[in-house]
Assembly symmetry: none
Homo-oligomer: 200 residues x 4
């Protein structure tokens, strides 16, 4: 009945790391293969194309992020707005730990990836956009709960846009962290995130 291996998983794992650290276009199939200890000829048994692997890597990253970051941050037992703060805190911890180990600060894999997609990569771009919208919906839920709890004086009609504002701020912070190779800025700027959800 044929053989079995974790080659597929290893390819996804290494692809994510390499693409996140460098970029989709800068990383070659051969490099991914050799890091995953998979023979180059085997790659196309597991994935129809490099693009499909990149998509799978993004999907897997999103699943893992939901399990490891989102689930902990958007814990219903936390006060709603604290969840948003916790999201940023965890992301800071991740990048701070990397920086301590002299690894470059990576920023957001989805954000970097979407920045290098072109006209012809519509499907990939739309998938990343959908992931952003999912992240946004977690933030939105927290804001809505805060509002309903009376912690917030904003119109119901502002809730979604406010969530997007938080998301944008989040992505922007991670982009600046990557640009400056500096995890500290994540912590510094996180302090202001709740300003965005309160009425001016």
């Amino acid at each position: 009945m044929g053989r079995k291996s974790e080659a597929r998983e290893k390819l996804i794992e290494q692809a994510l790391i390499l693409i996140w650290e460098n970029s989709y276009h800068a990383v070659g199939v051969n490099e991914i293969c050799s890091r995953a200890d998979v023979r180059p000829g085997s790659f196309y048994y597991f994935f129809p194309s490099k693009e499909a692997l990149a998509l799978a890597a993004m999907e897997q990253h999103w699943q893992q992020a939901k399990e490891e970051i989102i689930a902990k941050a958007f814990d219903p037992s936390l006060p709603p707005l604290q969840r948003i703060v916790k999201l940023l805190e965890q992301v800071y911890q991740f990048h701070a730990a990397r920086q301590k180990g002299n690894e470059p600060v990576l920023g957001c894999a989805f954000g970097s990836f979407v920045g290098e997609l072109g006209r012809d990569d519509r499907a990939l771009r739309e998938r990343i956009h959908a992931i952003f919208m999912e992240i946004g919906s977690y933030i939105e839920q927290a804001i809505r709960e805060a509002r309903e709890a009376g912690d917030l004086q904003i119109a119901e009609s502002e809730v979604t846009t406010t969530a997007h504002a938080v998301l944008a701020y989040y992505e922007g912070i991670l982009l600046l962290a990557r640009a400056g190779n500096d995890a500290q800025i994540i912590q510094d700027l996180s302090r202001y995130v709740l300003k965005l959800v309160h009425s001016a």
Copy 2:
């Protein structure tokens, strides 16, 4: 004999467009040359490498942004905080016009570029970071003036960080606009930018 060859300028111009629309690694030297109507052999007469061209393109983009966007936004005759609003408004106009012409929404060239730089591109990354810091200093100056005019109640020690927060938000907005191929979000989210500069 009049003016110099325009080949260099054309190369920079086309490189910026192609890199912004696609990405640095996705765009080839030959493609840039053919768009610029420059023979490929001539490329290395004008630039020592593709990387040098990309850097030149970023520099030129920054100079132009200063002349056409920054100068108008940070006009001393405007009320300080209005300058920040105007910055976003102009960027929105640019992307809205493109979208009207069925061109993809591009986001920030610097932001996208920095997202695809890797470990070995330290010089490029640091240059983009420096440009971000320059943008930040315009914002910082506006915030400081507003504070000194009494429009703002924040500590002097918060001014720089607040400017970075605005910059992060700005970059995040443009990233989401690119991800969603949607210029409207720039306008929608711009309404909240001043929340970041007021004390909570």
Copy 3:
């Protein structure tokens, strides 16, 4: 229990179609397998190589041609020279039907196949040549019978060569039909075939 796997037969059948429509070298083992709904790993259980499959496909095609075309054309109840005419007529009907269904006109599978064999494919080439000689012998028999019946004034020593001439004309007609993607030429040129068997 019951009948054997049909995988072998399906592989042969699909291989013939694909090779005939395209070419031996242009068609991959995987493509044949997927069309035959056979898992690629199974291929080498049934055939030792792609070449062996191609040979089997040619053999099967030849057996089928003998049963469906040759047997009807070289029916002893037909006047000898009419058999040659009937051969061409049936081949025309086959290709005309295909063209009506907007399928490309294929020409002769053996002729196309032999055209793409090289120095190192001696065994295959000789097998196709032998099939040609077999076809020739049917034609030769018809010519001989016509001569013995007094329908023809050619020397006995010319019979074999004349049969080869008819065979060459037949192959040439099918080649032109494929080149022009036009079945009609088969009918048009068939009218002249008996000129070749009469003395000048």
Copy 4:
């Protein structure tokens, strides 16, 4: 002003030989390059694709055939029908010489090539068809002249079709010669070609 070389010509020349001896799909770009003493990276400077090279090789072969074979065969000073005979004679000489040197008998490059083209190679197939039609028009002209000189009793309306019949016979002869790796059959069957042009 750049360098100069005969690389393009050598590539065409070697491509023709290799494709003729083997087949388009069986021959790789690398093999053509190494025979032409051209570095593989240079190939795509000279030709946009392997297909384009194949087409160029066929074109060049046709030009050369016109100059070296057609021009001599269809010499107006020859009696019209002798021109057709001469065409076959020259082709026989070419193949007989090759066989003497223990080279495989090749048949017609155009005929073999068209046999391995598939659905998606419409442009190539149509070009080869057009070449066939050109060859046909030389034959047609000879037949027409013979008819006008009173050497032939066929209807004017039969002239074109008769020319195609001769062309088909010619292609079929070369196909059989390749299949049998036997140049002699070209000479043997050539003796019958004029039967096709006389009325039955």
